[in-house]
Amino acid sequence: MKDILTSIKRTPYQSLGSFMILFFTLFLSLFFFTMTSFFYGVLSYVETRPQVIAYFNVDSKEKDILQIKTNIEKTGKTTSVNYVSQKNALKIYKELNKDNPLLLEMVSENILPASIEVFAKKPIYLKEIAEFLKHQKNIDEVNYQKDIVDRLVILTTILRRVSIGILAFLILISIIVLLTTAAFKISVKREEIEVLQLIGASQGYVRKPFILEGLFFGFTSGTTAFLIFYGLFAYFNPFLSSYLSGIPRLSFYNLTGYNLYVFPPSLEYIIFSYLITVIFGMFIGFIGNHLATSKYIK
């Protein structure tokens, strides 16, 4: 540790450069990692929602609605069809708005429509099912979520590809900067390295301080990136929570067994993010300095 701090003191600007590029890379890595995880969670959530919902006029008879439900099921294009009565609709409404008494007061069972929720066997059936429902008696409105799912799939794919592209570029830049900085530090310590080699130090012994310094930069910049990212997250959390209030807990790539929730983030997910960021930072630091020592210490 003492040697690492001495080296940083000897070459402060180069050390700051290494730290900053690593910090920038890791901060953006954490940002993209969280965003892709979040959108994947949203996509998974949307996919679990009914894909076609048909709302009936409030004066529709339950018998007629159930007949339509049966007709839809008979097409063989659905995996399940749920009937939500006006009574159940009110129950759901009350649950969703339990924190807002004013909204609860304004609504009664009579003004909420009954509906049927349809899950299709294949996405290509969605339009057909929606068209079928639109032409039924007593139908007020038909919503289907193909567009939303499609857009989320496209958004998640683009985000993932852009993240990979940007991160690959940043990782390359980081490694080049670390390599150059380490090469400079090696030249500063050239005489010391020569002495060590002449008295019989192994390659590993000579290279160790540089490798440890790379790991140190990876650790400190990873920790700083994590603290700043979650600091900003905590600052914006009230706004985000209110904006995304309708969305339930989003699991990390459907790994529910480990209590890893992207939003709102669980403690396990925060620890997981920290470990990923720091390990990734230390890996980049190791690679950069390992390449430099392999090339410049013979």
Binding site: T6, R10, E191, E192, E194, V195, L196, Q197, L198, I199, G200, A201, S202, Y205
Partner: protein
């Protein structure tokens, strides 16, 4: 035992640093290498450390041919050879104790051993009271004593010194040479020097080099050119 057998070193520029040099140094022998600048003294020392590989011929140290391409024990070879330079090559961000201890750290000696051995050699070079000082606080003579201490710590059986008194005043030069004298009973000592007074007063073996070749090799020799 160190054997140079018909060793030649030619550089790609055409310069011949050593030309068909043959000699043998016995264990615990005290030897001076003398000659004008460019005669090949430093080349011989660097070859013993395997910093330079001969163009032809062989160098055998303790029955091992270190010029053989299959030789992989350069670190082991250097760990058995202490080296002292004219410009000391002391690490300026480490104190006296740490500068000496580094020679033991590289071979993973236990902390207790390092402490005891460093204290012992500090006594030998009369620097016990300055072990926590940094190089910038020391005189040239003291710096060279630190370098000698680093060269002898860890049971190194050969000490090579390249102009060890080149940067020192006459009084300090003799103090340093007294230390080498103390070491000769248990180690092979090879000193490359221009100092006529020292060579003549020590009455030890002298190998005289000129233009890369040996022009004289005498027991109890003198500086003759």
């Amino acid at each position: 035992m160190i054997i140079f057998d018909e060793v030649t070193k030619k550089y790609s520029s055409g310069t011949t640093a050593l030309d068909n040099v043959t000699f043998q140094i016995n264990d615990n022998e005290f030897l001076f290498l003398v000659g004008p600048s460019g005669a090949g003294k430093t080349t011989i020392l660097r070859m013993i450390l395997r910093q330079i590989i001969p163009t032809s011929g062989s160098i055998i140290i303790d029955n091992v041919d270190i010029t053989n391409k299959k030789f992989k024990d350069t670190q082991k070879l250097r760990r058995s050879t202490g080296v002292v330079f004219q410009d000391f090559k002391i690490l300026f961000d480490k104190n006296v104790f740490e500068n000496i201890a580094i020679a033991l750290k590289i071979i993973n000696s236990p902390k207790n051993t390092i402490k005891n051995e460093v204290e012992e050699v500090l006594g030998l070079v009369s620097l016990s009271d300055k072990k926590l000082m940094f190089p910038i606080q020391l005189s040239a003579g003291e710096l060279q004593r630190v370098a000698i201490a680093r060269a002898i710590v860890g049971n190194r059986n050969t000490i090579i010194a390249d102009e060890p008194t080149g940067n020192l005043d006459p009084k300090t030069t003799w103090e340093i040479m007294k230390i080498f004298k103390k070491l000769e009973e248990s180690r092979t000592i090879i000193i490359a020097t221009h100092n006529v007074d020292i060579v003549n007063s020590f009455k030890k073996r002298v190998i005289t080099l000129k233009d890369g070749g040996i022009v004289g090799d005498k027991r109890s020799g003198k500086y003759e050119l």
